[in-house]
């Protein structure tokens, strides 16, 4: 390779001037809204809200101590980590199934969603995750997490390579709490989970990395909170 700096520098300067003249106007264009939005932290608004909920909860607990001198029972019932453990167990149980991974297939999606909504006592949806490479294969009903709770739903998704992720949905969370995304590693199963008032969500997989799982979780969150 021969470098001829002096002669070439003129060429480069001319090219540089031409490129600036051609593309500098882009800098002055109005930035499209979708890009401004993408520049914001994905869960900032949500985290902020969760922060205030936490402050409110702390104030409530303090007030509870002072006024009644007793613990507020609802707090003890909220163990958000419990949802991650149950979701991981359900994932590990059903996702390896070859013949019966789901009770109702995605070919009957409307029926599946209506049935699960009825059994869970609240309207739920099966998010579509095709944009992040996962297709709904169906869902099933799971037993309640305790004797007083409602049944739970599990939706299963699969990518082209055959890896599966499951979405675990509870509608009986007490305490009206909200949390930001949380991550938990339950044995071989990775779980992102969050609580949104009475609904608890957990997205689990044993086969995909944390980053991929987080992008799936973000896609679920976006669809449930448009």
């Amino acid at each position: 390779m021969s470098m001829q700096p002096e002669r070439n520098d003129d060429d480069l300067k001319a090219l540089s001037a031409a490129l600036h003249e051609r593309f500098d106007p882009v800098v002055d264009e109005a930035v499209p809204e979708r890009l401004s939005r993408a520049a914001r932290p994905p869960l900032r608004r949500y985290a902020l809200a969760a922060g205030w909920v936490a402050v409110g909860l702390a104030v409530g607990i303090l007030a509870g101590w002072q006024i009644h001198g007793a613990r507020i029972p609802a707090v003890a019932q909220q163990d958000p980590g419990a949802i991650a453990r149950r979701a991981a167990i359900a994932h590990a149980t059903y996702s390896p199934e070859v013949r019966h991974p789901v009770e109702v297939g995605a070919d009957q999606e409307a029926h599946l969603v209506a049935w699960l909504s009825k059994r869970l006592g609240a309207s739920i949806r099966a998010p579509h995750l095709d944009d992040v490479g996962y297709t709904l294969i169906g869902g099933r009903l799971l037993p309640p997490s305790d004797g007083n709770g409602r049944p739970v739903a599990q939706f299963m998704y699969q990518c082209k390579q055959g890896t599966r992720v499951t979405l675990y949905v509870r509608t009986d969370v007490r305490g009206n709490e909200e949390t930001a995304f949380r991550y938990s590693s339950e044995g071989k199963v990775r779980v992102f989970y969050w609580i949104d008032r009475s609904h608890g969500y957990a997205i689990s997989s044993a086969d995909v990395g944390k980053d991929t799982l987080q992008s799936v979780a973000t896609a679920v969150y976006k669809q449930l909170n448009p």
């Binding site: 390779m1 470098m3 003129d10 003249e21 593309f23 882009v26 979708r34 520049a39």
Partner: protein
């Protein structure tokens, strides 16, 4: 802690580079959006106190390489571009179309180097860091790109007066 404002401030530069890189408005903004989303996911890899703009260009480079590979084009393809018949420049200057066409005819790896150096005004060292390649590779890619663009550059007036052609 990196703020939203600092990232917002870099968007116009990212858009300019992406536009030149992809040659198309929508594809360019898609590339910027993918870059911003990836940047938030990878933010823990950004070292505080270093240049955020340079880091975002590196993120964009990685996203771009993945896109090129997914599209089955070759990122680094030194096939001849002689079939690219550059028109003789018009008497009153080069037309914009020729610049766009010549850029897009370069293999993506060379196009990146040309744009980082000549449009983003990066030093060879900064370009090397951004693309995560040795500085010698930057120089050789630039040199090969210059060879290919020679015909184009000979037609460039020194002041770079381009004429926009309405088509």
């Amino acid at each position: 802690m990196v703020g939203n404002d600092q990232i917002q401030a870099v968007i116009p530069r990212l858009r300019r580079y992406a536009r030149a890189l992809t040659g198309e408005r929508i594809a360019a903004d898609d590339l910027v959006q993918d870059t911003l989303e990836r940047a938030w996911r990878k933010l823990h890899l950004f070292r505080a106190g270093t240049d955020l703009r340079a880091w975002l260009f590196t993120v964009m480079h990685n996203v771009y390489v993945n896109q090129v590979r997914a599209s089955k084009l070759r990122y680094s393809d030194d096939a001849s571009i002689e079939e690219l018949a550059l028109r003789e420049p018009d008497a009153d200057g080069l037309v914009v179309r020729d610049l766009d066409r010549a850029l897009l005819a370069l293999p993506p790896d060379q196009r990146e180097v040309v744009l980082l150096v000549a449009l983003e005004d990066m030093s060879y060292e900064e370009a090397a860091r951004t693309l995560e390649i040795p500085i010698g590779t930057v120089m050789s890619r630039l040199s090969r790109a210059r060879e290919k663009l020679r015909g184009l550059m000979q037609g460039l007036p020194q002041g770079g007066h381009l004429r926009v052609v309405k088509t």
